[in-house]
Symmetry: C2
Subunit: 501 residues, 2 copies
């Protein structure tokens, strides 16, 4: 509360001084928060309308506020342009209305590159144009676990190769145990869907920002079909659904690492219609000022990813080999957000070993698609599986994917698949003239003749053992037509970089 009060005081101070704005500095793609206080009468979540107009010389944003409990109302704004921003509030509550202020948006700190956006149809980049290669994992209910598990999850993610994590907002704890907090007022199976529990959402904020500080995208899953009568959070009526989306958008929207996933396995929520799903997308298309990425994850029936409000195809499918045709069909980035998890569970979907996971990630990479990992092994002496509760990774692929992460991190541009035709089927992607990534996969050929290279250009060659992660720089430089000796074992990759002249 102390910090919040200070912010409030700052805001109040600024009100009376047109110069003081310079003292509140917010980095570009950071967020600025206005806190206002008003005694609650009625239902502060439904009766109070609050928004702020943020503006500079060229742009104006209308940003919704939200009630955060204890007479506190907040408005959060992510500036995307440097320089002075002013705002003025509007509310049907006089105590919140016509409040003014300003701040100075300054250069982003190292590591802050803005939100992820779609680039050149099939790819992603940060707002600052740095390419972004999603290498995600899954931890549906991790935020709702006990504190030490959450701490373990963060530590695990920090030490992992993953830069995106899918997780749910509404409770998801298939282990069935009681949660310490719920998103609404109520208990058991009786919930007041017009009264949020700010504490529940505040915890999410904390973790979304923790992920942000670790460079990890929060692929937030808004609805899911796994409640199944445990609590009934899937029983909101339509108005309540939009109240919820509005609250989430107002609270989390200003965080640059947020993605909106309408659902996990949306088609299993059989009580909702396709119009409902379209509606959720359209809500964000209209009311998310930052246009965070939007997707919808399927079980058996795929959402129509050609719809204009879908930013990228979020697909559950083990058919990684469909990547080229899915690109063709959807004309959007393709993320296999679930392609079976690493594990040895009862069900096929949680029963791939780490080698297969690793292999599929590399295949997707050269095919111009992106994969999302999930680990279904039970952690020792627990009923935790990382893809459900988070905790500690115990599988193999989390280690094996570090080299892929490293490789992706060093690509000098946008990795474009070049795998058409028999010889290069499933094998080659690159940045023309600059960089070529060959994934040799299951093949154990002992050489490769570099007929794909451009004329009159020399390249260095790194051999990558995708299992061990070892990288070996070959002696000398290679040109078109040269033959590279290979180890004659499967699961090697080969990286060619343009040599300095």
């Amino acid at each position: 509360m102390k910090n919040l009060s200070i912010v409030l005081i700052l805001i109040l101070v600024r009100w009376f001084s047109t110069d003081v704005y310079a003292q509140t500095k917010v980095e570009k793609w950071g967020y600025f928060e206005v806190e206002l206080r008003a005694a609650v009468t009625g239902n502060p979540f439904t009766d109070v309308r609050l928004e702020a107009i943020f503006y500079n010389d060229t742009d104006t944003f209308q940003i919704n506020g939200f009630y955060d409990g204890e007479d506190s109302y907040k408005i959060r704004f992510m500036p995307q342009q440097k320089g002075r921003w002013d705002y003025v509030t509007r509310s049907n509550n006089a105590a919140l209305d016509s409040k003014k202020g300003s701040f100075l948006c300054v250069s982003p700190k190292a590591g802050n590159r803005g939100s992820i956006v779609v680039k050149d149809t099939f790819y992603f980049s940060y707002k600052d144009s740095t390419p972004f290669y999603p290498l995600g994992t899954t931890a549906y209910g991790w935020v709702q676990q006990d504190e030490s598990t959450r701490a373990n999850s963060l530590k695990s993610l920090k030490n992992s190769p993953f830069n995106k994590v899918r997780f749910m907002i509404l409770p998801h704890a298939p282990s069935g145990k009681e949660l310490t907090q719920y998103p609404y007022e109520g208990s058991g199976k009786e919930w007041n869907f017009t009264r949020f529990n700010p504490e529940y959402f505040r915890k999410y904020e904390q973790y979304i920002l923790e992920l942000q500080s670790m460079g990890i995208q929060a692929d937030i899953v808004l609805f899911h079909p796994y409640d199944k009568g445990i609590w009934g959070f899937d029983k909101m009526d339509k108005e309540e659904q939009y109240l919820y989306l509005n609250y989430v958008n107002a609270r989390f929207g200003a965080f640059r690492n947020v993605w909106w996933s309408m659902a996990n396995e949306f088609d299993l929520m059989t009580q909702r219609t396709m119009d409902d799903w379209d509606g959720y997308f359209r809500f964000f298309a209209e009311y998310d000022p930052y246009q965070h990425l939007r997707s919808n994850h399927n079980a058996g029936v795929w959402y129509d990813h050609t719809k204009p409000w879908v930013t990228h195809a979020s697909i559950q499918s083990e058919s990684w080999w469909r990547a080229p045709s899915l690109r063709e069909e959807y004309q959007k980035p393709i993320i296999f957000d679930e392609f079976c998890y690493e594990g040895n569970g009862d069900a096929r979907i949680v029963a791939l070993n780490g080698d297969v996971i690793r292999h599929r990630f590399w295949l997707m990479t050269v095919l111009g698609a992106y994969g999302t990992h999930g680990e279904a092994y039970f952690q020792p002496n627990t009923n935790y599986q990382f893809f459900r509760q988070g905790g500690t990774f115990v599988g193999e692929s989390v280690h094996q994917l570090k080299i892929l992460d490293k490789v992706l991190d060093r690509i000098p541009g946008q990795l474009t698949p070049m795998g058409n035709g028999w010889r290069l089927n499933w094998i080659l992607a690159g940045v023309p003239n600059e960089y070529y990534l060959y994934y040799l996969g299951e093949y154990q050929n002992s050489s490769w003749v570099l007929s794909e290279l451009p004329q009159n250009q020399k390249f260095t060659v790194d051999l990558v053992n995708t299992i061990s992660g070892d990288i070996t720089r070959l002696d000398g430089q290679y040109a078109k037509g040269d033959e590279v000796s290979l180890p004659g074992e499967p699961y090697f990759a080969m990286i060619l970089r343009r040599a300095e002249q």
Copy 2:
């Protein structure tokens, strides 16, 4: 020559006796051979026209003869109906004209089930309706090797799981060494394409019949692009091409285990047009009295397998996962007649290890397609690779595929893919109500709930370790909804058979 003389005498004897036919018995789907002698004048391959009309009460076949050297002309006929058959010859050479005879077609011996035909659009069976599951291998030039290598090849094939072998008629010996025989008169690069060398073709006959006795289909490759100036056998003009096809058809057509493959990698023979390829197919469609299976194998450009004269798609592609869509597109059986070979060669196409080969075979099986093996490892102390010269198998998959052969051999009907949908993707094929084959592949799930089974029917369950070949019969019987415990390791299959009531 002694045997041939005896045949001739028998034929002459029959001529004068309408009753003697009963003494010449030919099993159904065996072959009857007429030998006639006439002193050669001119070119016996082009100047002499010879055919026989074979007829019984209901059918008539016009069968071309061929010159077999040393004044000997032959006509071969495969009877497909039991009972008496008569024939009469026609020739522009009086010594060969109007010769008559007859024979008695009797029941086939055990192991003789007739030729392979397409059944129910996507499948194969023997003429007697027994299902046939192609499980092929490749030995392009094996007939042209030295005698001990040929003997080794036969022994290897006999002990192998393979029931089909692709090989060429025209010389193919990339090792470059001299052959002892050539198909035409001539030498070096000078050949008389109107004068065959009967000895060369006689050796083929011997081996086609040896394969037949081992239950192996001879998938004969008629043209290939690998001559590349070594001899020039790819330089025949169009008339010579048809002379060759006619000779091959006349000599080998009566052997029930013959398939006609127009070419290997037909599209690499860039001097031939699509009309040429269509023409070869149409030749066999018109002049092969037995309508042996017809196909055309590609490199980069696929032949249009929807053309009416194509009996099945013979495909070179590593994209095994396209099997369902290829079935849909071609409405014919799909054979992946080359999907990369087992080996550790320079080139990717000869560099899959045995595990990958085995895995792909099982995948194709449950996807309703068929695979063809090829081994590219060099045999110890030789420059022989089985897929080129034959010899001795040294790879792993030849052993690992024995269990697949055994499994295919015991399917009580036609194995139909049932793998639509997420849960059953790439996994299930069966004979409805009778038999179900689950290939669990890369997945290591520890159980499977049998929701696919029909109601009110019990099944036995065999677990198949597709690597070791071990089969374990589980205790008890299983019904719809029952859960099978699985080993929790990849590469298992599960076979369910309807239990006796």
